[in-house]
């Protein structure tokens, strides 16, 4: 019996970040659908703009930027909401959105899980620069055509519309996206195509919540690389594993915590990094090659 509890506890502990993430994602998704008995609506709207507990406006800064470029004059509830969200991600790290909020992440994670489970190796390698190019195009097209260009395809709000209004057009697109990640390209959508991720990567470039290697001496380095194997954006961990730095400073890090779940040596932790960029063992941190 005690053994059984022990197994469950270690099981939970070894997936603590994943479970926390799923809880937050599901809470945010369900907050739009259900009401609390005394408080009423938790959130109304959708992930492009919402109102929490009937008072706090939250707006996606990327959609607001498209709207602004398309020629709208910014009105204040949306602008305040956009500033709140932008400030949060700028302080803590932009792509927290990708792994803790975005519902598409659950879809692509399931696709990735199936990929591992069935050993699907086929992989169309796509340049990491593609999502930046799509981001640039989305902004240019918003400006030139006077519409919110990315919102025509954006699967994030599409997903919520499908859930809330229970229509089926667009579900096929989401299905296509799932199979794209499953069969065509590993971590293809979130890691290479989605301009929302690219936008939040730029926004949170200096985000201070960082994966930190406190005890780098206990890290086995490239001999282990368990963290890199589970990381959805493996390139961000390279400086740490190759012992060139003690922090993940790339804006592409989604703070999903997969590396923390996997790391058996306890070398990694997630911390607010308020100090300056320190070098490790007199080796300066390499940011860009």
């Amino acid at each position: 019996m005690i053994n059984f509890i022990k197994i469950i506890c270690t099981g939970i502990y070894s997936k603590r970040w994943l479970l926390a993430r799923r809880t937050v994602q599901l809470f945010i998704l369900l907050a739009f659908l259900y009401q609390l008995p005394l408080i009423g609506d938790i959130a109304t709207g959708n992930l492009s703009s919402s109102e929490w507990f009937g008072t706090i406006p939250l707006t996606d800064p990327f959609i607001l930027l498209q709207s602004f470029l398309a020629g709208s004059s910014l009105a204040y509830p949306a602008l305040i909401g956009g500033l709140i969200v932008a400030a949060f991600y700028a302080i803590f790290g932009g792509r927290i959105y990708c792994s803790w909020v975005c519902p598409i992440n659950m879809l692509t994670d399931v696709a990735y899980w199936f990929r591992q489970r069935f050993g699907i190796k086929s992989n169309l390698s796509i340049s990491k620069g593609l999502r930046k190019a799509i981001l640039l195009l989305a902004l240019l097209l918003s400006f030139s055509a006077g519409t919110l260009a990315w919102e025509i395809v954006n699967p994030i709000t599409l997903f919520q519309r499908e859930l809330m209004w229970a229509s089926i057009s667009g579900s096929l697109f989401l299905l296509g996206l799932f199979f794209f990640d499953l069969l065509v390209s590993r971590r293809g959508w979130c890691g290479h195509i989605c301009p929302v991720g690219a936008f939040y990567g730029f926004l949170g470039h200096f985000g201070r919540l960082r994966i930190t290697a406190d005890k780098l001496e206990s890290c086995a380095g490239s001999a282990c690389s368990a963290c890199i194997k589970v990381c959805p954006e493996p390139h961000v961990l390279v400086p740490v594993v190759s012992q060139k730095g003690n922090k993940v400073i790339s804006g592409d890090c989604t703070r999903c915590g997969a590396c923390l779940d996997k790391c058996s040596t306890g070398a990694l932790s997630m911390k607010m990094d308020l100090g300056h960029r320190r070098s490790f063992k007199n080796i300066p941190i390499v940011t860009k090659k």
């Binding site: 709207s67 009105a75 006077g146 919110l148």
Partner: protein
């Protein structure tokens, strides 16, 4: 490119040249992508005349750029008439609309949909629902309208929330006898669509149309005679 130079150190390209090549390639991608994407966006079908925006909506190109597709108006509509457009609807994806024949606007006095809009795509300064302009009702089926046939259906006149102002019955005498012709007054009609919803014909004889489609405009010279 980098690999090449590493393999053949003799044939190194000047760093500036590779940089320029990269800049040009990116510039090319941006230009081609913008042109192709712009052409695709421009070739979208026009918004169908059946699509009616909620009260206070900005005129169309401005609405498309200002609305952020959040659906707050949809959730605040007490009669659940609004819907966000999906790919199969004839409106920009994610924008709110209603179809009058299915469910018309009930013209709430407090205009909750416009109050909910965070961006001003639905005008927050609209306080009097009777000043809303969602379109204009037009009696299009002169051959099928029962009142034109000499009967006194007059359902459009009876259900109109601004009865006797937006729609009046005008008496006309002709060969068929005395007709009560439902007549829409475009300066009072808000385009709520209640008349369209309640028309008893299988295909409605009175429709809400965008003002541009529904109304004639005077020509350059004033028509008609002055006082004799």
């Amino acid at each position: 490119m980098r690999n090449k130079t590493e393999l053949n150190p003799d044939k190194t390209e000047p760093e500036r040249r590779t940089a320029f090549k990269q800049i040009f390639r990116r510039f090319g991608v941006a230009v081609v992508g913008t042109l192709a994407g712009h052409a695709m966006l421009r070739s979208r079908p026009a918004i169908s005349a059946e699509i009616i925006r909620p009260p206070g909506a900005l005129p169309e190109p401005a609405f498309d750029s200002t609305c952020i597709r959040c659906g707050l108006c949809v959730e605040d509509c007490p009669y659940d008439i609004l819907k966000l457009a999906s790919w199969t609807d004839d409106a920009p994806v994610g924008t709110p609309f209603f179809v009058a024949r299915e469910d018309p606007c009930r013209m709430c006095a407090d205009i909750p949909c416009a109050r909910a809009c965070p961006t001003g795509a639905l005008d927050p300064l609209l306080t009097d629902i009777r000043k809303a302009d969602m379109g204009v009702a037009v009696l299009v089926g002169h051959e099928t309208c029962l009142n034109y046939k000499g009967m006194s259906c007059s359902i459009c006149w009876r259900v109109c929330p601004i009865r006797d102002e937006a729609i009046t019955l005008e008496t006309i005498k002709n060969a068929k006898g005395t007709l009560q012709i439902p007549t829409v007054h475009s300066d009072r009609c808000t385009g709520c669509g209640t008349c369209e919803k309640h028309c008893v014909l299988s295909e409605t004889a009175i429709r809400v149309l965008p003002r541009k489609l529904g109304l004639g405009q005077p020509g350059r010279n004033s028509a008609g005679r002055d006082k004799v």
